[in-house]
């Protein structure tokens, strides 16, 4: 079983269009689906579930949709989700740029991170206003600054040091073993870049709100059938 499964939640809008619903209803269905799938993953023994909830590039969408998405993320801290996080002892972390996120949402995020930070066995990471390039850039800038201050030497810079500066340093397993992207698009779209170096990728043709238990098991079965060589002969 993979220890860390990452999801690119693609297809909410197309699902809504096909079902004759509004975009915001599509995103709501997607948000609910995430909790269901995360719960399933944890039951199956996965330790960390990460989800690409909102990309830095999504700021280019129209204002109404962005407002809907922000309000959806805010309402993640609703009663039933909070109950689920505490009942199942899930630690929740939100990673991303966070500079453009409304103050009220930042407060909600901080509260939920504080409330669940003691849980060790299950981790839900939501990537909000996240960009893989930004993550690497910010880690590199941080190291360059440290080198200027004499805290590290240039020759000390190595892969482990960079990895420790990435936003996924909140996790015990920063690199996903499996990444699932729905809706048939075969791109990373600037989600985790460094962290996906050896991740098995699975592209599912269904839209995210339709990604159910069967589809998840199909993805996990595919993962288990793969031979991971990491560049060497096994």
């Amino acid at each position: 079983m993979p220890r860390h499964v990452a999801f690119i939640l693609d297809g909410n809008r197309r699902w809504a269009k096909r079902a004759g619903l509004t975009t915001s209803q599509g995103h709501e269905a997607g948000a609910k689906r995430l909790i269901d799938i995360a719960e399933l993953c944890f039951e199956l023994g996965v330790h960390t579930v990460s989800a690409f909830a909102f990309s830095t590039e999504n700021w280019g969408r129209d204002k109404i949709e962005i407002d809907n998405l922000m309000s959806l993320i805010q309402h993640y801290r609703n009663k039933s989700n909070i109950k689920f996080f505490h009942r199942s002892e899930v630690r929740v972390s939100v990673i991303g740029n966070k500079t453009k996120i409304p103050e009220s949402l930042l407060k909600e995020i901080h509260e939920i991170e504080e409330a669940t930070k003691g849980y060790k066995n299950k981790h839900l990471i939501m990537a909000v206003d996240y960009s893989g390039k930004f993550d690497i850039m910010h880690a590199c800038k941080s190291l360059v600054k440290k080198s200027e201050k004499g805290l590290i030497r240039e020759e000390d810079v190595d892969e482990a040091l960079i990895e420790r500066e990435l936003l996924t340093n909140c996790s015990d397993f920063p690199s996903p073993d499996l990444m699932i992207r729905t809706s048939g698009e075969q791109r990373i779209s600037n989600f985790f870049l460094w962290q996906l170096a050896y991740t098995e990728l699975f592209f599912s043709p269904v839209f995210w709100p339709d990604f159910d238990k069967d589809k998840l098991l199909e993805a996990l079965a595919s993962y288990q059938s793969r031979e991971r060589r990491f560049g060497c002969r096994v």
């Binding site: 200027e148 960079i162 791109r187 870049l193 170096a197 060497c232």
Partner: protein, 295 residues
């Protein structure tokens, strides 16, 4: 009567030449049709499956890599005929050094032979006017391979029609680490240079200079120091043998790249796989261009 076998061979030779010409003509016509849609500027290949191919055909290990090299030459020909300007290939990963020493040695010997052959008059480099770059931690290669690579880069430096980037002793994470190290060195050089200037300058000017220096520090451009900055980001990444993972290849550069993973092993890769990838690229192209404009 004794001439008959010779005549047959002659006719056979003429037939196969004719067939090749017909095939070439059909291929170029097909390319003209495909070119009516957008053509990718840069395609990257992960050439996976040589060893499995050798096993499947009952050949010895090294033959898989040789068959892989032929497949590569065909792919390059198709790409450059189609008008694709940049082709990047993942020839050897830093992780591959951890394979059995005999295998690493035989791959290095094959690489040396093939790198040297690029300098020959009849090679594909001269046919298409290819500028060749070797991208990776070249210090990890043995002296002969490194020297041959540097010779090829120097000899092709003036070519400008198309570009071939060969990733050898390469890992994306290593590329990023090297870029950060360069940035650290550049920054400390800049600081030293401006400290030296300050010794002579007015104290009034000093304040502004310090501010500018701070700004420079904030504008660290990792991208400039990446070895792959000589090419734009790939539009398509094709990994053969059906594996769907990046294996530490071009992680920084493939954020928005279309990923394809045909099941064919690398020596079995053919024109149809390339065309399929390009048709998919054309299908998604207008949507992606719209997204780029929104940013």
């Amino acid at each position: 009567m004794a001439e008959l076998p010779g005549q047959i061979r002659h006719i056979g030779g003429r037939m196969s030449q004719l067939l090749e010409q017909i095939y070439g003509f059909s291929r170029r016509s097909l390319f003209r049709v495909i070119s009516m849609g957008p053509i990718p500027c840069h395609i990257a290949f992960i050439m996976d499956g040589n060893r499995r191919y050798a096993k499947k055909c009952g050949l010895e290990d090294g033959s898989g890599h040789k068959a892989g090299f032929s497949a590569l030459m065909s792919m390059l020909q198709y790409c450059y005929e189609l008008g694709i300007k940049y082709v990047t290939i993942y020839a050897f990963s830093i992780d591959n050094f951890r394979r059995k020493p005999e295998e690493v040695e035989s791959v290095m010997d094959l690489m040396l032979e093939k790198i040297k052959s690029l300098l020959e008059k009849e090679s594909i480099v001269h046919q298409y006017g290819i500028r060749v770059y070797f991208i990776g931690n070249l210090a990890l290669l043995n002296d002969q391979v490194r020297a041959a690579a540097e010779k090829v880069m120097k000899a092709t430096a003036k070519n400008s029609r198309v570009v071939l980037l060969i990733c050898i002793a390469y890992n994306s994470t290593d590329e990023i680490v090297q870029a950060v190290k360069k940035s650290c060195i550049n920054k400390s050089d800049n600081i030293e240079a401006s400290n030296y200037k300050h010794e002579d300058s007015d104290s009034d000017i000093e304040g502004t200079d310090m501010e500018n220096q701070e700004k420079k520090i904030q504008l660290v451009d990792i991208e400039e120091n990446m070895q792959m900055s000589v090419a734009p980001n790939p539009d398509i990444l094709i990994r053969s043998s059906g594996e769907t993972r990046l294996s530490n290849f071009l992680l920084w550069q493939t954020g928005n790249t279309q990923l394809c993973s045909p099941a064919a092993l690398w020596p079995e890769i053919g024109l149809r796989h390339l065309l399929w990838a390009i048709l998919n690229f054309q299908r998604n192209h207008s949507y992606l261009e719209k997204r780029k404009k929104q940013l």
